[in-house]
Symmetry: C2
Subunit: 235 residues, 2 copies
Amino acid sequence: MNEREFLKQYDKTAFDQPIFSVDNVVFTVANGGLEVLLVQRAEHPFKGHWGLPGGFVDLQKDLTLDDTALRKIREKAGVEPDYIEQLETLGSSQRDPRDWSITTVFTALISKQRCVPTDENVSSANWFPVTTLSELQLAFDHLEIIERALKRLKNRATYSLVPCALLGETFTLAELQHVHELILGKKLEAKAFRRRVENSEQFEETGGMTSGRGRPAAYYRLRPGAMGFEFVRSV
Amino acid sequence: MNEREFLKQYDKTAFDQPIFSVDNVVFTVANGGLEVLLVQRAEHPFKGHWGLPGGFVDLQKDLTLDDTALRKIREKAGVEPDYIEQLETLGSSQRDPRDWSITTVFTALISKQRCVPTDENVSSANWFPVTTLSELQLAFDHLEIIERALKRLKNRATYSLVPCALLGETFTLAELQHVHELILGKKLEAKAFRRRVENSEQFEETGGMTSGRGRPAAYYRLRPGAMGFEFVRSV
């Protein structure tokens, strides 16, 4: 039998395979804190519980795993995220009452101002402060998954520019510092933070300035292609 | 319908799911260079080609995804690796001629002296220098996967102790430095390397010394629980 004949008669259902899904931990900054997007489950298992936006690969629509993650976020949040990366894949016989189950987890960042729910599916979606999640009964191992994503985000905040994806397209240095502080849960020294941002050479001034009370502050934006850049020293 | 009734009638085959597998990039150091473990494929697709040791989850035998990875390495290399970590998960409609396919990739390190093939399955397995892989026709996207694993290993070698898993249980500082140099593809300064190892406080002298020609060198081993430690500064 040659390969073409083999492929013709190949029946993937002859092998007992685990359930495979994608889950997204989508963070935003709102109401003075970090928030995560959750969806109330319409179906068993964990019907009525809050869980991460995710689901199965659509073998017709999705060309890659990234497509699945982005499609699921679009369906639930109404927009594309400003930043997305794969966190890790978790699989075990215990995490899903249906069967042996695997989930590939993505972490996404989205600026709240862009995130306006646009279709009906979204009515079941809501943002929750990460500090109040223990009061909800989350589906599956989703609380643990969020904690792991948060740990990675904190890590990123010490040595990368990634958290700026939580802001709009333009922002002041004070706003950027504030986002890093929210994620890290501690105050940073303004002078040292400014020096690191400038040394990174990955931001440029837009020319615009804040107006209103106090000293005007310059607006910055990322230089094209700067995403993913790492600070030379951690903050 | 309550959750118990739902689970009773749930049929996972009603959803068209991708093929899911695990692949391992297992590195060792031998013959003065970095080598990777490959297995000659006994079946289509890519029959007769060399590919990464991996396979399907065994829903009865494996409790977690890590179990699948370790089982596959045991089956092909005859031993447990000295270090293993998840690299990433790749999925697309194109990477496998059978169907939409997903693979979770693990990177493992093994010291060559421990790696003696022990059973019949292993006859099809062989170690290849990473510098000669382009001469082989590898199955699927396995060449690209190895390149991604190599990039991660290089990264680890700049800021972690992970590469010492390629040596035996005890080693001299010169041997440890040599392994870092092999991975990084450049010479390191001996004094600075020794200082970083000592500053890490993660190694201890065994009390033994090399014998033979030249000045005797002390044997070191990892302190218990030291694995995963990161250097304060990269090498």
